[in-house]
């Protein structure tokens, strides 16, 4: 008993673990895995757990098969009473009917089995309910459930039939002379055989002259598909009477077999055990598949996240490089800077005549705040262009990477915003950040210069001029100088540097430059982090639990251990 209790506990855990493995990403085969997972959760709730908790419950034989194979007529004829409504029109849509002995009624309430289906006592067309019919003509210990068809255009019927068949202790599979080679029923039988569910096959609606040939062929097919142990019954095609029942002797064989099974508790327990063990084994086996699928999803998610991170890291690196190696100083910024400090020619004599130059510069810079302003603007527009374009191309790279996988494509289609572009407000954000940085540099210089306000040089350049010089120094940080113009650029930076050193001293200048540089870097990486967050938000919305797969695998292993130990124990007993 404790044995079965631990199994119940473990299987409950399995069910929880299964429910937690979300498979939201559309990787190939995800649809199939999702379906499997739902089926497993349903089977645990509908059949395995209730069955384990009450191992003595009556044997539930589910009559399943194709539309038009004569399931309802067969059930009615076996019961000997019209309990379910057969129809000529396909597919017959109505709620499934469970026929049981009045004494067994308590076993079939909602709390015990098939909790999703409402119970009714009258016939209803609602496939979401289960009609209970107590009859005396059926022996206690046996219940017959007339399931909907498995292959009609009514999707609801098919789904419900699969669910009911998963809850069966015994499948009574009904087929007909026209049907017996159909693919869909055989797919079900194959699944049953793999799960070692107990199956009995009933060949219905067969013309008398064809019975022998069809029976032989059907038996051959059953053997070929590993179902040779399953009993095969033939119901001769006969005219139903006014009640819609077949002549009693047509179904005598089936009825006798069922009655015997109901009477023999050991045989019944054997059937239940076979199906139950098969179900548990199959659940454990499929759990690994689902766990793998879950792990794969987590992997895909991580890969997508990595794609986004890589793209934006690259953008950050590029902006970093471009803003530190002096190239930003060329072109527009250089031209404005040279205007600010004087003509390009002046710089050439720099090395020998720094002192003289400094004075010249002072002279040039005095009364030229407009030119300092122009350098600021040039720096601003250069940086903005750089950041904007890098953000755009990072978004484009990320989108391309995502689009190359099915899951990524699906996420992109589902996303609200266009993830192939920088976000809508990015330009404004970038402009604001660059201006904030410039303001920061300005403040830095102002603070640093607080006690030097009165010095002639400080006065000569003003806070504006010195801020501009500091920016120029920042941009020429690594100045790997080989090109002529980069040389000039670094030359300009040297001018800036000398200028600042003359005012603040060289240690302070190094510190200021470092501070300004890291401030810029911080702002840019903040900007890009906001952009990356858009992708992370989409991924976070997917609720893939990274640990769930591992947990599921662990529980499945425990189920397996338990099963093997239990099997061995029972074997030796």
């Amino acid at each position: 008993m404790t044995d079965s209790t631990t199994l119940v506990t473990t299987l409950s855990e399995l069910r929880e673990a299964l429910a937690r493995v979300a498979l939201p990403l559309d990787v190939p085969e995800a649809e199939q895995h999702r379906r499997t997972r739902t089926e497993m959760v349903d089977q645990l709730a509908d059949y395995v757990l209730p069955r384990l908790r009450q191992i003595d419950a009556p044997l539930l034989a589910v009559v399943g098969g194709s539309t038009g194979a004569g399931k309802s007529t067969l059930v009615n004829s076996v019961v000997g009473r019209r309990v379910t409504e057969p129809g000529v029109l396909r597919p017959t849509t109505r709620s499934p009917v469970l026929v049981h002995h009045p004494d067994d009624a308590s076993w079939f309430d909602r709390a015990r089995i098939l909790p999703d289906l409402a119970r009714t006592t009258g016939a209803s067309g609602d496939p979401g309910s289960l009609q209970l019919v107590p009859v005396n003509s059926i022996p206690p210990g046996l219940a017959i459930l007339d399931a909907p068809d498995i292959d009609s255009v009514e999707r609801a019927n098919r789904t419900l039939a699969s669910e009911l068949l998963a809850a069966a202790d015994l499948w009574l599979f009904v087929t007909s002379a026209a049907r017996y080679a159909d693919q869909v029923p055989w797919d079900f039988l194959k699944a049953a055989s793999e799960r070692s569910t107990a199956v009995a096959v009933v060949l219905d609606r067969t013309p008398p002259d064809a019975v022998d040939e069809v029976t032989a062929d059907l038996a051959r097919m059953l053997t070929a598909r590993g179902l040779s142990d399953s009993p095969l019954f033939t119901v001769a095609e006969g005219a139903p009477d006014a009640e819609g029942l077949l002549p009693a002797d047509s179904v005598a064989e089936v009825r006798t077999w069922l009655n015997l099974l109901a009477a023999d508790a050991d045989a019944r327990a054997e059937v239940v055990k076979q199906t139950l063990d098969g179900a548990v084994r199959s659940l454990a086996r499929r759990s690994y598949v689902i766990a793998d699928a879950g792990a794969e999803q987590a992997g895909v998610l991580a890969a997508l996240r990595g794609d986004a991170a890589r793209s934006y890291d690259e953008a950050l690196t590029r902006i970093d490089e471009a803003s530190a190696d002096g190239t930003l100083l060329r072109g527009e910024v250089l031209a404005r800077w040279q205007e600010f400090v004087g003509t390009g020619e002046l710089l050439r004599s720099l090395e020998t005549r720094v002192g003289w130059l400094r004075d010249r510069v002072v002279g040039w810079a005095r009364g030229k705040p407009a030119q300092a302003e122009r350098v600021t603007v040039a720096v601003e527009s250069g940086l903005e262009t750089l950041i904007l374009e890098q953000a755009e191309s990072a978004a484009e790279r990320t989108e391309t990477a995502w689009r190359s996988t099915a899951a990524g494509r699906h996420l992109l289609t589902g996303a609200d915003a266009d993830l192939g572009r920088a976000s809508r407000g990015f330009r404004a954000e970038a402009e604001r950040s660059v201006r904030d940085w410039q303001r920061g540099v300005f403040e830095m210089v102002r603070e640093e210069g607080a006690d030097k306000r009165s010095t002639a040089r400080f006065l000569a350049f003003g806070v504006n001029g010195l801020s501009v010089a500091l920016m120029v120094v920042v941009f020429a940080h690594t100045a790997g100088v080989t090109l002529t113009e980069a040389g000039i650029a670094s030359g300009s930076a040297v001018v800036g540097q000398k200028l600042l050193e003359a005012v603040f001293g060289d240690a302070a200048v190094r510190r200021l430059a470092e501070q300004a540089r890291s401030d810029l870097r911080g702002r840019v990486s903040n900007l890009l982090a906001q952009e990356t967050a858009r992708y992370h938000d989409v991924l976070d919305g997917q609720e893939v639990d990274v640990d769930a797969a591992e947990r599921l695998r662990a529980v499945a292993r425990r189920v397996d251990d338990h099963r093997i130990a239990g099997g061995a124990g029972r074997g030796s007993a």
């Binding site: 194709s66 539309t67 038009g68 194979a69 000529v88 029109l89 396909r90 597919p91 292959d151 009609s152 255009v153 009514e154 999707r155 098919r158 007909s176 002379a177 026209a178 049907r179 017996y180 080679a181 159909d182 693919q183 869909v184 055989w186 609606r205 013309p207 002259d209 064809a210 040939e213 069809v214 062929d217 097919m221 590029r318 490089e321 471009a322 190239t327 930003l328 060329r330 072109g331 527009e332 250069g382 262009t385 750089l386 904007l388 374009e389 890098q390 755009e392 191309s393 484009e396 689009r403 090109l483 002529t484 113009e485 980069a486």
Partner: protein
Amino acid sequence: MSALLDGAKRRLGRGGDVPSRIDGLRSAVEAARGRLDDGLVDDAAAVAERATARLGLSGDHTVVALAGATGSGKSSTFNALTGLELAAVGVRRPTTSTTMACAWGADGAGELMDWVGVPQRHQVSRGSQLDGGKADRELEGLVLLDLPDHDSTEVAHHLEVDRLVRLADLIVWVLDPQKYADAALHERYLAPLASHQEIMLVALNHIDEVAAVHRGPMVADLRRLLVADGLPDVPVIACSAQHGDGIVDLRRAVAERVAAKKTASRRLMADVRSSAERLSQVNGEAKPGSLDKDRRDELVGALADAAGVPTVVRAVRTSTQRRAAAATGWPLTSWLAKLKPDPLRRLHLDLGSSGKELTGRARTSIPESTPVQRARVDTAVRAVCDQVAGHLATPWATSVRRASVSRSQDLNDALDKAVAGVDLGVSGTPLWWRLVQVVQWLVMLAALTGLVWLGVLAVLGYLQLPAAEPPRHSGLPLPTGLLLGGVATGILLGLVCRVLVGWSARAKARSVDRRLRAAIAEVTDDLVVAPIEEELLAYRRVREGLATAGG
């Protein structure tokens, strides 16, 4: 191909505009390949190919396929329609495993049966005049196929059915009371063929097994399912192949369609049209935008900037100024101008178009573009893409974007070449420089003459030798006048020329700027705009082709 199609048109006669529709689909397929989803494009290509093949075959015959589930009585129906016991009938399922064909009116039917893929040994021909009665004459032009089932455990059968359902001109679905609502039939075949209802018939076989009172409701129920599949106009004929009920109706329905000889082209039309529709859905309907001047100018500007056009223009101006100053300045000081470095030489542009051959340089020495300049170019290219393809369907927006950067590897070299290839016009010497130069030297000579003269007078005076009084001109001795006038005129002329040189250097710079930008614009058109235009052309061709095919 068009000759084949013309021939086909004659043969199929009433094909109407089918050939042009097929052509439309084919050209759409060609243009869409590599741009839209491969699977869809392949499907459409297969449809076009199949349709062309069918057009090339007998238009007097109609291929009618009997399709249905196992046990529905396809073979019995086949036998009942042909009046022969050709197809094997049995209780063992699935009974029929190979397709059987029977043709009435042999001319051209053999070819057709071969194309359909029925092996010779399963082909039967009924020469209508020889052994035929009225029934056979009625079926003149029919090629009847008995297909295997589509729902048994034999997967090979499904594949054969899938193949033949695509080829047959008319499909007769043989259903039976047990299986008429099977998902295998409705979801796999009927619903996807909703666009083909003109070429389908439904026969509800085994009707004799249903009690008379239930027959009406059952047919109505079947119709309900067909409407749900999107096939409201498909005729349903209840029949029993075994007892002959309704077979006459079925035979008449088939015979009418065969006699009309329109089914084949209708089928092709439906095929082509539905394929075009499927492609249209991914292709989108949006009109591509056109590239306006502002965007293009912005792009050319960004590229010109990246190619260093402003640097070159500035250099041209400085260089011209330097050379002009050297040529037209006062000779005593103008040599100083030559000492300044020539910025064009630094860029290796000073030797003109033949310079590269002389120096063997592959590139100019214009500085590499900066990241900011490159970023501006990328932004401009992206803006161009947005404008022309921003609202197109995703596959096209992507392919335009891809095309726009497809040649970006070549861009740097091409730009450099374009800049180097423009004749900067700095090697020649304008006539007025020479004139001024001559005048300068003449004036210089005059001054020199005055100086020498004065010198001689001075020497003579020093030696107390008598000398002729130099002639005077308005009170000033001529040599003094020559010296002073010469120097003053030279300097003055130099100053005046400096102003002129400034003007002309600016004008030269402007014209070089214009020419450089024109060259850059050409590169832009070649490497950025042309690939984009190519995609847009493909897009237009797909749209036009699909419009022809589906309209």
